[in-house]
């Protein structure tokens, strides 16, 4: 293991967790990410190899497919984000690339994103104040892009109504977290 010590997107050595009202905001760093983009005209071979290596179907637009060790959600035409445990981060992109070969462009994304999970009964009230998503009808295991405080994020519904993950650009982690915290305090003040 190398000598460089990681810090969190919020610039600390340990994770930020705060409980506000009935909501808990948790910084998540133990996931590794890589994006798969299908090469032109590789549809069949791509799908086959993806199924083999990932063990899950690559999901349709707006959908997240959860599995182990790999989960995936759709990020654009012919493009998916693969989510795996952080222990695999050193090799995730390389492993996927060697499995997918020339059917796919693979890009390591682990450090492109910060992630904050929100749990609690008021989670819907919170996101109602944060982003333009019909949060109350959002089904478990769906994911969508949205803007929170002008920051482009992915919103991933883990349990409908009560548990969500927000993936935002890492450099804006502080502003993103601040916006979520302020909104949560506003909800809790009711």
């Amino acid at each position: 293991m190398h000598k460089l010590k990681a810090i969190t997107a919020l610039g600390a050595s340990d994770l930020k967790v705060s409980t506000i009202g009935d909501m808990t905001l948790t910084e998540v760093t133990d996931r590794a990410l890589a994006s798969l983009s299908m090469r032109l005209g590789q549809d069949a071979e791509f799908a086959k190899r993806a199924k083999d290596i990932l063990g899950i179907e690559l999901p349709l637009p707006g959908v997240a497919e959860v599995g182990s060790p790999y989960s995936a959600f759709w990020i654009g035409p012919d493009s998916w984000m693969i989510d795996a445990s952080y222990t695999s981060h050193q090799t995730l992109a390389a492993d996927l690339k060697s499995a997918m070969q020339d059917t796919t462009s693979v890009v390591e994304q682990t450090d492109g994103w910060c992630r904050f999970d929100v749990t609690g009964a008021s989670a819907c009230d919170l996101f109602e104040r944060l982003c333009n998503v019909d949060i109350r009808t959002m089904q478990a295991q769906t994911a969508t892009r949205c803007a929170i405080h002008h920051i482009g994020c992915y919103l991933w519904c883990i349990e409908a109504g009560t548990r969500f993950a927000v993936l935002g650009p890492r450099s804006s982690a502080g502003s993103l977290y601040h916006a979520m915290e302020e909104a949560a305090q506003s909800i809790a003040a009711r």
């Binding site: 990020i75 035409p77 333009n132």
Partner: protein, 95 residues
């Protein structure tokens, strides 16, 4: 405004960046006789209709698709939304 994304369904237009007339897809041949004139007309002249307008929107805070949206410039009513890539291919653009 709300743009009914062919893949994602209704999305607020605020997630998109606007470019303009879908004729921007029809980039002229750089080796043609009248290339200079053709590029001038392509880049600078517009129909700018008061009514139905085919235009390019980029889903910047979304899936990064370029869309061709058919929208009425008098009422803002949107009657059709297509993936620009499909439109470009249909219009004969390739490599």
């Amino acid at each position: 405004m709300i743009i009914n994304h062919p893949l994602l369904g209704p999305r607020d237009a605020q997630e998109f960046t606007y470019l303009g007339d879908a004729a921007m897809i029809d980039r002229p041949d750089w080796q043609a006789e009248n290339a200079a004139e053709a590029f001038h007309d392509y880049l600078y002249l517009r129909d700018n209709p008061a009514g139905e307008h085919r235009e390019l929107w980029f889903h910047e805070q979304g899936d990064r698709s370029w869309l061709v949206v058919t929208r009425n410039t008098l009422t803002h009513e949107i009657t059709n939304v297509e993936l620009a890539r499909d439109v470009a291919r249909a219009q004969g653009r390739g490599r």
